[in-house]
Symmetry: C2
Subunit: 344 residues, 2 copies
DNA sequence: CATAGTTCCGTAAACGTTTACGGTGGCCGA
DNA sequence: TCGGCCACCGTAAACGTTTACGGAACTATG
């Protein structure tokens, strides 16, 4: 005699009533519910997840899919850890278990997702490292699996997304640098069609245009989003005959490599080139200090979780007015890396 | 009509035979097995995991528990990502699904583990960030849940573990530095009772003793395993009147902070102080280059997976002679950070 | 030919839940 | 008194598998 049956026998009531009591159904006497909960705690009863999954066709698991190994994510990965943390706190309130599904570098993300879904692993999914054209979207939409993405994509199937505010960052940065007298300004963009990084480039161009300036195509650098990428950009940029006086480093981690590249060339950020980047735990140890955007990753995770739950029928009533699609603004923290200004 | 029943009906055989065919049981005609597999592929049938879990009492899931948010892990987290990758490749061969269980900074790891286990989440677990005295060990042992740990602990319940070769690193480092004429050598250790970091300190002392030297207690620095920790160590160390001429930075990421601390004081690694640390993707961007130990994280993950499977009855025959307890040696990559030597 | 053994397959129970359905008893109003 | 309603509870089916058991057909052995 195990599980709920044991509990029922111990209380001398039927298993149906026990189940109803535990699941908060209305049609059970409050007095008996009290007894059931008490006995459950006493006997240390916890419902068997396989049993309820089988019956309800639901797993109570949400998967957060990330890529490992490959340098696509690049974020130094503490980024995702923090976001995950925020997501977790929301789901915990609903007794949903959050697990990280790390797609190995050896496996195709699409195949991996297919396996996960075929196995009926999760009730909902969070996708990161979205691609410009991402087949996963349609796949999930066709199977009616609720999901939300961290990052935009051109493949829109109506799912909720959250993303960084590329446009806002570009606008703010350009305005700031132009005000300091710069007119040859370089920007970086993701090397592949990850996310909608091109929005950053586009908006930079528009912002420059508003000041009567143009974005030189030679000053758009494609970079892997890691230290090596930034280092490589520095090498390319410093080899130019007519090198820019300022640069926007849109990714979190590339500033570290860029600094290294500059110092090897005997140059100093903020003195020889103005830099605006993004803050990260690692960037705090750069010298001179980095001027860059900062982001509450945890809040981002919370918003991500709420957006997902808002689309799941069983939970949507908890979040009637969640923002389903939202760019996440970042604050600019001023450092010394963009101190370099040109005479008017 | 769904699932295996549909498949059976389509083939006009019994569901029992279908199940046996799919699960590779011997008592089924090879010809029918072929047909079943064919039809399964055609109809896109995949067994319902809840059903088999309920019946077999097994989930086919292995959980890799990590801590998030808190600075305990510190490894810049790419460390775990890489290890995870290695684990994954092994499990994939056995159709085991690996998920990452990230314990939030807000939750007690013991409570978190309790929840995971109560839910019957996984067939086996990998624990990281082991503590000097770790209650999780006995908890799992009592429930007879197979697990392996990445890191040693004084709480030994006979489970397999893999760990870094603290003794080897200490011995190699001390010998090397002493050969360069250093006799005031500092070492770092984890700030809390994480892992068995004290082994590093102990072995350093023994190695020094073998050279007729002693380890000054004032030169043992306790450090959080992240950039800030290294920075703090630098500040303490540089403020000393009789400061050491060399230091061992046992953690992967603290060198970055230590470098920063030195440069702020106008000092240069490898010129004013000899440093031996540990390599990481980030440390490649340090200048001067770091002399440090390097580790095949992926291989470590593979060994970890094999050690776990070796203790699980259903898989142990695949790994008859897996090494269950092993320190993982690292190679020393020579850089410029320990160039500083003293005249004999 | 009788017997034993082997190979293959069908039957049905079991895993632990949830939930539709129906039933009992009490209360209330007509 | 009766019918109806309500609050509560028990019964049993269902979810999709796996597997112990037994049986049928066939082969080998004497």
């Amino acid at each position: 005699m195990t599980g709920i049956r044991r509990l029922a026998q111990h209380l001398d009531i039927s298993i149906g009533t026990v189940s109803r009591a535990l699941n908060g159904r209305p049609d059970v006497n409050e007095e008996t519910r009290r007894k059931v909960l008490e006995a459950a705690a006493e006997l240390g009863y916890v419902p068997n997840q396989s049993g309820r999954s089988l019956r309800q066709g639901t797993t109570n698991i949400i998967g957060f899919m990330m890529q490992t190994g490959t340098e696509i994510t690049g974020q130094g990965d503490t980024f995702f850890m923090s976001v995950f943390d925020g997501v977790q706190t929301v789901f915990a309130r609903h007794h949903l278990d959050l697990v990280a599904l790390l797609c190995s570098s050896e496996e195709d993300p699409d195949d991996y997702l297919r396996r996960v879904v075929a196995r009926g692993f999760a009730d909902g999914l969070i996708l990161s490292a979205t691609q410009r054209h991402d087949p996963r979207f349609e796949f999930l939409a066709k199977r009616k699996i609720p999901f939300v993405t961290l990052g935009r994509s051109l493949t829109d199937v109506g799912q909720p997304w959250l993303d960084l505010d590329f446009e806002g960052m570009a606008q703010t940065s350009i305005d700031r640098l132009v005000a300091k007298g710069h007119h040859r300004i370089a920007v970086t963009r993701p090397h592949d069609d990850i996310n909608l990084g091109h929005l950053f480039v586009d908006q930079s161009a528009r912002a420059l245009a508003a000041h009567g300036l143009t974005l030189d195509p030679d000053l758009v650098f494609s970079s892997k989003p890691n230290e090596a990428g930034g280092y490589h950009v520095a090498q390319q940029l410093l080899a130019m005959k007519d090198r820019p006086t300022a640069i926007l480093l849109v990714n979190e981690t590339i500033a570290i490599g860029f600094y290294r590249g500059m110092s090897e060339a005997g140059l100093k950020p903020g003195r020889d080139i103005a830099i605006i980047g993004r803050q990260s735990p690692q960037s705090h140890f750069l010298s001179p200090s980095l001027t860059g955007f900062t982001l509450s990753r945890r809040d981002l995770g919370i918003a991500l979780a709420e957006a997902l739950l808002a689309t799941m029928p069983a939970f949507s009533h908890f979040y009637p007015d969640a923002e389903l699609r939202k760019v996440w603004s970042e604050d600019l923290v001023e450092g010394e890396s963009d101190a370099f200004s040109l005479p008017a």
